[in-house]
Point group: C2
Chain length 410, copies 2
């Protein structure tokens, strides 16, 4: 019989996708759906990049080198140098987005059945790639009450087995917005050295931090000389320059064997997209003003959002210090149901919301049943409207915990 | 101890790469190196695509749908319809080149340790992807004396085990240029049905056939209704429209479960490159003239090349009917050594050649020791010069079989 592989069957479906059909239906019915569910920035790419696009005049669209176009690699090298990270060119390999970077890195450090440790809630696609590669993801839960900071070391060490090859961290964090402190990174460094584990850090939001005391500057995993062989960093221009569709990311490590191994993977897939690399190179060479302005915008939104959420009854948000997400605990028992209900049954002035239910960010979906992830990739006016809608929806939703308690009390 | 995964260690290095340093050195020394080693077409992309590129005026570079931009999918659907292949939109998923297509398809049909059957010589990166995914590639040798046609059915059936999930074919073939006949495809169809195996056909060279009797029109794996669930086709615009650097390919299958599984992989990596998809869409909508002209050019080169090779002493080429490669048997014992020698020690009017040694196209490198692959992606004048250089090199090379026999006879 023709069969689908177990890994294919086990592959998780995008948690958003299950909701998409309800969003589509709502739109068909004429409702405006405000999307708080996806990390697609509304901010434009740098004007210089758009200008470069308008004057692209290549006579060919040829294969480039498997590790990326040389000018782009040089620009990336300069970018990190400006961020106090000295690298050789061979420490950098350009990938088709951070997605390909994760795929390659996992394959280079694990064999079938090996384990990688990460923290919950997590970027859902880590699990997808792990299933694709036959890797077990072991998780340690971070808690909203502690702002999703690094869990206790003893809990981490408990999870380490002879099959554990790496700790995977997202800093600043998607979905929590938490920015790990220098001290937390040092604790992870100690564990990595003690147990000889790779420390893989997804730093695609590295420019997005909103409080000076939580600076990610100087807090890259690449800033720890002792981790020369242990540190692997994943990066991407998708969020930084609002160029999600370019699919340009990179893997950075000073571990020569890792980079040589990944180069073999890179050769098998030939090269990253050429035109996008030309535009990425432009993005890397613009002045700092663009990013400073972008960060300012996100900070204002963050401040507004968190303030507004803190005033909602029975709603608890963590305090995100970076990226552009926050995890919010709602006074409902099942945010999957609530999210679907908002799309199917609710409207306010003919508008409604799409949010990402928390269940998709946890190994055990139950752990996220009361949470949602909000991405603040909308302008303040839209965000304000979205929060009014959320508030109204929570009042009208018949299955809030309050309503349930009322019924139980009757 | 920090370790590299076994799969990473076992990953094959690009067979070309080992030679690249000698080519670089030759260039440093001022020699012109003519590249017959790589399938990078010298032909320009369609003028309409280059024009579209010059007038790209997007205001964002956003994520697209995971299965590809809708207009592109519609254009692809139309393209196949014109080629007598009726498809639904959901039968098509856009990928980052055929490379990603192979990666996804292998993962969907095999689990760790499963087997896929293919024919030797093969596209070297099939092996790379198989190692990446923990898949065993079992091979059956095709022979230059039989023009690399389909090996005997009994040899194929001998290789089938309970772990075999698919037969993988490249048609028209890279590296041999062989075009499988309708009859051969029917034989494979029967095997696929009898043993319930997927028949995965890499048709990236589907437009490139040079003799009407070897038409690939109507000879797609998708033209066999009985194979509705068994047939999976891989395609790409890289060669067809000389857009290798765009990294746009697709997976096509009417097997719903396969496509649903692959959609989950596609979602994990978010989307294929957006700008390249816009250009790919343009390429799919141009008139047939472009491809007719391109095929005419390659046919002329093929005719010239094969005629010229047939006149060289002790040189045997197969008769390629499609793609733009041919495997050539040389009167030397080790083409790896010969290829390196041409770059390091040989020149003719300060020029030399880079060829792809045959060893990289066989499971057992020894099987390809006397062969090289030539890609005819140079204009006729360059090709002519290249063949003169090859001829001169074979005369001067001190380790030809003839020279060896002379020494033995002394």
């Amino acid at each position: 019989m023709l069969t689908i592989s177990s890994r294919g069957q086990n592959m998780t479906e995008s948690p958003i996708r299950k909701l998409s059909k309800y969003a589509d239906q709502a739109k068909k019915e004429g409702k405006n759906v405000i999307h708080l569910n996806i990390g697609q920035p509304d901010i434009q790419p740098p004007a210089e990049v758009l200008a470069e696009m308008r004057q692209l005049n290549l006579s060919e669209i040829a294969y480039g080198p498997s590790d990326g176009l040389k000018p782009l690699k040089k620009s990336i090298q300069k970018y990190y140098k400006k961020n106090a990270i000295e690298l050789k060119e061979k420490d950098i390999l350009v990938t088709s987005g951070a997605s390909e970077a994760i795929l390659f890195v996992m394959n280079a450090v694990t064999d079938f059945g090996d384990e990688i440790i990460t923290f919950e809630p997590f970027y859902a696609n880590y699990i997808g790639f792990a299933i694709f590669e036959g890797v077990q993801i072991k998780t340690i839960k971070a808690n909203i009450e502690e702002n999703f900071s690094l869990p206790n070391l003893s809990l981490i060490e408990e999870q380490i087995s002879p099959k554990t090859k790496a700790i995977l961290l997202c800093n600043p964090n998607n979905p929590t917005g938490y920015v790990y402190s220098k001290k937390e990174l040092e604790l992870l460094k100690d564990i990595a050295l003690k147990h000889d584990l790779y420390l893989i850090v997804d730093e695609v939001y590295r420019e997005f931090f909103y409080d000076d005391e939580n600076s990610t500057k100087g807090n890259s995993v690449l800033n720890f000389p002792e981790l020369k062989d242990h540190a692997i960093m994943l990066d991407s221009i998708s969020k930084r320059y609002s160029m999600c569709g370019a699919r340009i990311g990179c893997i950075v490590s000073r571990n020569e064997k890792i980079m040589q191994t990944i180069m073999k993977y890179a050769q098998a897939r030939l090269c990253p997209p050429t035109i996008a690399q030309v535009l990425a190179n432009k993005a890397y060479t613009i002045s700092d003003d663009y990013l400073e302005n972008v960060v300012k915008i996100y900070k204002e939104r963050r401040d507004f959002l968190i303030d507004r959420l803190s005033k909602m009854e029975d709603v608890m948000s963590s305090h995100p210090m970076g990226a552009f997400y926050t995890m919010v605990q709602l006074p409902v028992e099942d945010t999957d149901h609530f999210a679907q209900w908002m799309l199917e049954k609710f409207e306010w002035n003919n508008e409604t919301l799409m949010v990402a239910p928390g269940s998709g960010f946890y190994n055990n979906p139950e752990d996220g049943k009361r949470e949602i992830r909000i991405a603040y990739v909308l302008n303040k006016k839209e965000l304000e409207k979205a929060l009014i809608i959320l508030e109204k929806a929570l009042i009208e939703y018949p299955h809030t915990i309050k309503e349930k308690n009322k019924i139980l009390a009757q």
